[in-house]
């Protein structure tokens, strides 16, 4: 059964390529996550605004984006949108756009729930103390909402990181691309794909520790 000769040296020899690929996945995820937070916050604010004209498009946006697979977005941006706009996106640009779109629908829901999760009395108390609407949000509601939002935002980051492993399909040389390249060069499929799986598990574990630490740091006395 195990006629296959395991050869882990191919992985070790190319460890720099794997790490560079992993680094690409990490920073593409990080940039997309930050953009998704900004976009998601904007959508969430529209949704909690009292204005029906804003609330409905924001709701539709979230439903629409959450119903479409990331892979479809990747192809749609890289091949479809590029043709229509007449812009040749690089793989990384298309990946960031697609990941930001997908992520923003999730962050929008998280921020909406977090803003709703802050006790109404807090905003009322701020108003009673003479805070304007804008500073009530900035200094009273927002800091508390962020604490509620942190754990689910951590999950979204992990989700985006896992999504980022897809970007080799539009030609970005991330760690999965490296693994496929090694497989095609040496005909050793098992080792490189196991390696990228392990790298991802380690990255997720490290990130979970960071989020737990951040939660402890931000916890109110």
């Amino acid at each position: 059964m195990f006629a296959y000769a395991f050869d882990w040296s191919v992985v070790l020899e190319h460890r720099h390529a794997f790490l560079l690929g992993a680094w690409l996945d990490i920073w593409v995820t990080a940039i997309s996550f930050l953009l998704a937070c900004v976009l998601g916050m904007a959508v969430a604010l529209l949704r909690v605004s009292g204005v029906r004209l804003f609330r409905w498009p924001a709701f539709a946006y979230v439903q629409l984006v959450r119903g479409v697979p990331l892979l479809v977005f990747l192809y749609w941006v890289y091949f479809g949108l590029a043709v229509v706009l007449g812009v040749a996106f690089t793989g990384v640009q298309a990946a960031i756009i697609a990941l930001t779109l997908t992520g923003s629908a999730y962050t929008a829901e998280i921020f909406r729930a977090a803003i709703g999760g802050v006790d109404r009395g807090q905003a009322e108390a701020a108003t009673a103390l003479g805070f304007a609407r804008r500073s009530t949000f900035r200094h009273v509601v927002f800091p508390q909402a962020i604490r509620i939002a942190l754990p689910p935002l951590g999950n979204t980051f992990v989700g985006l990181l896992k999504g980022a492993t897809l970007i080799s399909v539009i030609g970005v040389a991330d760690m999965v691309f490296v693994a496929q390249d090694i497989n095609l060069t040496y005909f050793t499929p098992f080792e490189p794909f196991t390696a990228v799986g392990l790298i991802l598990i380690v990255l997720v574990a490290i990130f979970s520790l960071v989020v737990t630490g951040a939660e402890r740091f931000l916890r109110l006395p």
Binding site: M1, F2, A3, Y4, F6, Q63, L64, R66, G67, V68, P69, L70, L71, V72, F73, Y75, W76, F79, G80, L81, V83, V84, L85, G86, V87, V158, L161, K162, G163, T165, L166, V169, V176, A179, Q180, N183, F187, T188, P189, F190, F193, T194, V196, G197, L200, I201, V204, A205
Partner: protein, 226 residues
């Protein structure tokens, strides 16, 4: 804007593609449903192991959940389809590899959903079942589990939606599901924007239909509370 206008949309392609996309739709639904049923069953087993008295079993289930929740479906599909096939000489079809990968990854999520739902069932329910003479197994299957499933349904439905969306990834290894068929049609018609927009609406429709059905199911399961 001039570039926008320069592009001649060919929406007629959409109409011509419907027949083939229908075929892809069937594969997507089959793949997702089989993976759903299998991961529901496997997830329950893992959840029960996670809550077992026997420590090694509990630890093994914990490791299983942590590992498979951290791995991405794409890497796992590649690992099963190329890695396992290369190492053991067992050649799986893309569809089988897809079902295995979707089932195992999602069973880890399902296990956590079951576990929190089972934990939410009042202890008194189990004790009452025991005092009424139910055995351990009967008490679990007829008293505790039905209540847990009621709690778990919304999360399980979300998981099913993820399965449907993630099943598109299996197309990369060569299944002719919605995504695979679309990629082929794009190669044929050279109309990526129209076709990827179309397939996006296919997935969106599936997701909305599932959500609507789930809302009905939840109402049905809550009927005793009215």
């Amino acid at each position: 804007m001039s570039a926008l206008l320069a592009y001649a949309f060919r929406w007629s392609v959409v109409q011509e593609s419907f027949g083939q996309l229908e075929h892809g739709l069937r594969i997507t639904l089959e793949l997702s449903l089989v993976a759903l049923v299998l991961s529901l069953a496997l997830g329950l087993i893992v959840a029960l192991c996670r809550m077992a008295q026997f420590a090694p079993l509990r630890l093994a289930a914990y490791a299983y959940i942590q590992v498979f929740r951290a791995v991405s479906l794409y890497i796992y599909v590649l690992w099963v389809y190329f890695g396992i096939a290369g190492a053991t000489g067992i050649n799986l079809s893309p569809l089988t590899a897809g079902v295995i990968a979707l089932t195992i990854l999602n069973s880890a999520y399902m296990a956590e959903i079951y576990r929190s739902a089972l934990g939410a069932v009042d202890r008194g329910q189990h004790e009452a079942a025991t005092s009424l003479g139910f055995g351990r197994v009967r008490g679990f299957t007829t008293v505790v589990l039905p209540q847990a499933i009621r709690t778990a349904v919304p999360s399980l439905v979300n998981q099913f939606v993820d399965i449907v969306k993630d099943s598109s990834i299996v197309a990369i290894i060569g299944t002719m599901d919605l995504m695979g068929v679309t990629n082929q049609l794009v190669g044929f018609y050279r109309a990526p924007f129209e076709l990827y927009t179309l397939v996006a609406f296919f997935y969106l429709t599936i997701v909305l239909v599932i959500s609507a059905l789930a809302a009905g199911l939840e109402r049905h399961l809550q009927r005793h509370l009215r």
